[in-house]
Symmetry: C2
Subunit: 437 residues, 2 copies
């Protein structure tokens, strides 16, 4: 089957990430989608930048209009931003019967109703996972996974810039202005940071989630918006003393009289998981009447995290276009005739760091004996503490953390150590998982 | 359009939850699914229990075979559990062309390949969101939302019983045995707790996720499984001293030579979000090459959380059966002609608790003046602290936390307080969100 053809409008940060990830992971993406997905046209005002990404087979233009009307293009990915040109291009693409994938939260929060209606009339899809919380699949979760629930409320840290600033203010006891400077230097905040620090960006996102959660039209103009510019380090630290963290939250809640829709700084109990979301990361908590609270956490911005959501939408549209409905999503995500025979490894072949606890007789030379055994099996130690066990006379606990080691070697070393006369009983081994993001 | 008809096999905890939530939220579920979803037959060995749930129009039987072969039934929900009778019933249902929704992780981890192939041959869906991590939508996220990514690893706290035991051991410095007793008394652990505490249940779940993440067949027999029964309070506390928490993790990871698939206790850095998942809650971290780490958190078991996932699958099947493909999932989750006109409330109509900071002249009667104003606007105080501002002579900071109050009243009270001669400058107001699960 021919690959599905994508026209990419705008190849800045997210556009570049989308092009790169689609290319790098094309084999797995094809196995999942059941069909190749290729970018065949790119529009950008900066032709040189566009050409620096594009393979030779890709048509590059500075006229986006050429792409949205081009008969070969199946799906338009709109990453230009703004609410004027982008809107025209999307409506033209829809009128031409093309599906649209967009990350444009400002546009959808303001003109979503018009755009969704146009798409519906033409029988095309408008997908926008990337518009809310970057790489976190919150749109699909709300739309397809929490469908059993009467949603009670949503609260989200949905602006990474603002969260970075608040995290830094708290952790380093700094005032707002120098932290904003730093965020700008690190590229986390725009030269004009108003959208992020005044809460407008967060309001776009919570407006979109509100519509999906409660089945109401998108109504950005009704949102209450208050940013973080007036927050002082003093209040952050008083809040901490009271057991709270201050976060910029987007909140929408159903109450008896209507729907609340608001963005403002809020004190959250420090013990809540979401209160511990730091730096540029995003998280959204959704409270449903059946499921209770679920939380979704991940990178809320950035080239490849946002591209992850753009491409998820592309795969969604492709599966829908390609498979018969009942086989739209393969049971194991990959097409069943394209499963891999990559072997599952036996535990002996797995490498992990380990926590080892040994009970040893406290006399000279014991440690030398043990570390000799570890060295013989190529196991190196990253930390060690010695503890009195208290009561057993001469016996002490030695705790060692190892660097990553093949399980087979750790097993052999443990067996050898347990056979030493100076070691009493069994060695306790618990594996360590750093889980680095 | 006629409602889609569901046959429910087993009306224990999850079956009861499914019946209850489907009925309670039927109006919203119908608006999302585009069609009603009703349970029209229930099979359970305990007829009395089944009848206690069932409305008079529901056919109740103790013979599940009657349901899986009944021509009126469109979807079978299998909540019997086990790998023998449940397997036969599911295969019979598939052979009859019925879609199947199941929460049976043991069955899928062991016989998934056979069942998925049968479903594929008959062109029906087998959906199993509820089989992994209860109410957390991790299956759909892996299958439909992270499709751009080369998945690197998944690590999950996917057994609430084991996590409850480890949380209690750490927080209360208790050994394993009495905490297990307590878990059994609280209903968090079965009379025979082996599946949970020996890691078997977690291994079923990580086996299923492994297949979806890496496009390999389900291979439960290859999983390495080690439970928590040998963990001592001593090791938990040493780990803490070293900056780690011990959690029972299900882990699957792609390395150069193959796929790791394992369940065992692990030390995790205490600063990781997942290390702070306590009690019976579940969480899964997925590392993708594009998106980075995303985390999904929620209730991993229980009647209604698990029902939330069962019903999400029912809505998925119903949407697929009912709408033309391009309109399968409505853009805003609800059918566009069934949006609600519930009003978005003005901020003045919103109720929140607040943090208020005032700078006041430190002299007798000041506090009485301020609390009088608050009382006049019906605002009650839950906590108060007084702080020297340091340097400004007579001025002190007073911080008050209020109970929930109408924004309108808080605004009026603040204006009034700011006009008092003993108060200098503006009142700082930051709203409080408890975000109770």
């Amino acid at each position: 089957m021919n690959p599905i053809k994508v026209g990419l409008l705008g190849i800045g940060t997210v556009g570049g990430g989308t092009y790169t990830v689609l290319k790098r992971n094309q084999e797995e993406i094809t196995r999942r989608a059941g069909r190749g997905i290729i970018v065949s046209m790119i529009a950008d005002r900066d032709l040189e930048r566009a050409r620096s990404f594009a393979d030779s087979s890709v048509i590059v233009t500075d006229n986006a209009q050429d792409i949205v009307t081009h008969p070969d293009i199946d799906i338009i990915v709109e990453l230009i931003g703004g609410t004027t040109i982008a809107k025209d291009l999307i409506l033209t693409a829809i009128a031409q019967g093309k599906h649209v994938v967009t990350a444009n939260k400002a546009l959808l929060a303001n003109h979503g109703t018009e755009i969704f209606a146009a798409a519906r009339d033409k029988g095309v899809m408008v997908a926008f996972e990337a518009a809310v919380a970057g790489g976190i699949p919150i749109i699909k979760s709300l739309r397809e996974s929490l469908t059993a629930n009467r949603i009670e409320w949503i609260a989200g840290i949905i602006n990474g810039t603002a969260n970075f600033i608040l995290s830094e203010m708290r952790e380093k006891s700094l005032p707002f202005a120098p932290v904003l400077d730093q965020a700008q230097k690190l590229g986390y905040a725009e030269a004009d940071p108003a959208y992020d620090i005044e809460g407008i960006d967060a309001a776009h996102k919570i407006t979109i989630m509100s519509a999906i959660a409660f089945g109401i039209p998108v109504q950005f103009d009704k949102a209450y918006i208050e940013g973080i510019t007036k927050l002082t380090q003093e209040d952050i630290s008083y809040a901490e003393e009271l057991g709270y963290r201050i976060k910029l939250l987007g909140i929408t809640r159903r109450v008896e009289t209507g729907i609340e829709l608001r963005v403002h700084p809020a004190l959250i109990p420090a013990r809540r998981l979401i209160a511990n979301v730091e730096g540029v990361m995003n998280a959204v908590v959704v409270k449903g009447d059946a499921v209770g609270a679920t939380l979704y956490y991940g990178a809320g911005a950035g080239a490849e995290p946002t591209a992850s959501s753009v491409i998820a939408d592309l795969v969604d549209v492709t599966r829908m276009q390609t498979a018969d409905p009942m086989h739209r999503v393969p049971t194991l995500s990959f097409q069943p005739d394209l499963l891999s025979d990559t072997p599952v490894l036996p535990m002996e072949a797995v490498e992990t760091a380990c926590y080892l606890r040994l009970q040893v007789i406290d006399k000279p030379g014991v440690l030398a004996e043990i570390t000799r055994v570890l060295a013989d099996f190529n196991i190196s130690i990253s930390a060690m503490i010695q503890k009195e066990t208290g009561g057993e006379g001469d016996t002490v606990n030695i705790i060692m953390l190892t660097h990553k080691t093949l399980e087979k070697n750790t097993n052999a070393a443990i067996a050898k150590i347990e056979s030493l006369p100076v070691v009493s009983g069994k060695v306790t081994r618990i594996r360590i998982e750093e889980l680095n993001g």
